[in-house]
Amino acid sequence: MNKNYNYAFLDEGSKREIRRSILKAVAIPGYQVPFGSRELPIGRGWGTGGIQITLSLIGPEDTLKVIDQGSDDSVNAVNIKKFVRLCTDVPTTTDTREASIIQTRHRVPEIPMKNDQILVLQVPIPEPLRIVEPREEVTKKMHAEKDYAPIWLQLYESLIKYKKITIGTEYPCMVENRYIMNPSPIPKFDNPKLNDSQCLYLFGAGREKKIYAIPPHTKVTSLAFDDVPFEKESFKGKKCRLCGNENTYLDEMFDSDTGEKHYQCSDTSYCKEVRMKCH
């Protein structure tokens, strides 16, 4: 551990302040709580919101897993792990079950999380209404008054134009029938995992200085019309070329040599685990 820094890099006052914002977020599921985003030796846009949450919560008892686009080995995930280890000495893992804190971008792990785990999501754009309203003071008022017609209109327009709802990632969901929330850039495949979950979900947006949360067993529904049910991505007829799984979220790979398309689990550690079992 690098003794030049305070434990977990941030000073104790900053960590306490971030934890206060987290508590408020947990108390009002889906509501975006502003927080005083700190400077980190990592560029904004590289997950500083998520890292600040992780740093403010982490302690010697914890085990950390970091994933980026489902992968434990991407440069971003590796760098974040290195940084946290440097200032905490906390052990890291790739095993979803072993981790007490999982920081992630783009994915929720395939293995269901348990009630002693926290999933920290890095969020670029926390505001689900931003696509229909650019002004922050207006979106604030829309949330306060539960004026969500414009976002529903967006979904309806998609139905009229394309006969289906075309939003893939950042698919908006309603939290406890009160706040519409942006589940960060996870694919809508992962949206159902937010509902009535065992674990605590925390969302951090560093640049936009917002924290929001889904506590365990919160009702989270992906927006859908009464007569047009929500549908997640379907990988029907496709399977992971490595582990053979048919019900995970698959990344499409393109082999430029052969010109062939094939599919592979986006959750690499889960894929590995399945393969270990098989062989």
Binding site: E145, A149, L153, Y156, E157, K161, F225, D226, D227
Partner: protein
């Protein structure tokens, strides 16, 4: 008109001014502008009632305050003074201008429908015609897409727009079609009051006649009360049961439309009627 009936809309002493006003305003108005302080009195002590099933016409020259009146009623312009009551809002016992912003939204969605002089104010030009209508239905709480589409088809048919064009955006429509989409949007939730601000202005004469015919048909079909604004007395003559004449932000004359046409009292009205003949 049986005046014992409760009005659908009642406006009391509406005043809208732009500028702070000064003690000299009342005595120094040049048209609607105070020569001492420059304040514009866009609407000046307006009182009116719209009774169930009637079409109340408002006629007046450009700048007389017609749109200011309409947009105050529709909450787009904040009145400086005055009260307004709707029979469908707390039985006409509460001033709608004191409603919370959430309540105002409900009133706009469910009790009133507005057709703006400028279609850009009333339509989302980049969204489909169907979505423009659905917006109102969504805001009223429906989450059934099929029902929205059915209703959109029904309303577009009522204003004689082919349902095959409902997925097109109004920005690609002609002016007359845009006004008709506005009308169908305004009617989406069966409001009790329809506000029409210069619906036919800027349209070709033949298109004007068609839109006016259509409005007459729809008013009869929907049994709706209407506040109809136009600078064109010919339009008012065609549609309005009663008429109010505005000049420089004030009401200068009101009565049955036929009466006003036959026996105008105010010099300005006389001139207006004269030019019509």
């Amino acid at each position: 008109m049986p005046l014992t009936e409760q009005p659908v809309l009642s406006v009391k002493n509406l005043t809208v001014h732009y500028g702070d006003g000064c003690p000299l305003c009342a005595a120094h108005l040049e048209k609607n502008r105070c020569s001492a302080c420059g304040t514009v009195w866009a609407a000046n002590d307006i009182c009116l009632d719209v009774f169930p099933g009637e079409i109340l016409g408002i006629v007046g020259e450009s700048g007389s305050g017609k749109s200011t009146l309409m947009q105050s009623i529709y909450f787009d312009v904040e009145p400086t003074e005055g009260q307004a009551y709707l029979s469908d809002y707390y039985k006409g016992e509460k001033n709608i201008w004191m409603a919370s912003s959430a309540e105002k939204r409900t009133i706009k969605n469910n009790i009133m429908g507005m057709v703006y002089q400028n279609p850009i104010l009333g339509l989302r030009m980049d969204y489909s015609a169907a979505a423009n209508i659905a917006e109102k239905i969504i805001a009223a709480g429906s989450r059934n897409a099929g029902q929205m589409t059915e209703r959109a088809k029904e309303l577009l048919t009522a204003v004689e727009i082919l349902t095959s064009r409902m997925s097109e955006a109004p920005k690609n429509f002609s002016g007359g079609m845009q006004q008709r989409v506005q009308i169908s949007k305004a009617l989406a939730n069966n409001p009790s009051l329809l506000l029409l601000d210069e619906v036919t202005t800027g349209l070709d004469l033949s298109v004007q006649a068609k839109v006016l015919d259509l409005i007459r048909k729809i008013i009869a079909e929907f049994g709706i009360s209407v506040l109809l604004v136009s600078h064109d007395l010919a339009v008012i003559r065609m549609l309005a049961d009663r008429t109010i004449v505005m000049l420089d932000g004030k009401i200068i004359e009101s009565g049955l439309t036929d009466q006003i046409l036959e026996d105008p009292q105010h010099a300005y009205t006389q001139q207006l009627v004269h030019s019509l003949l």
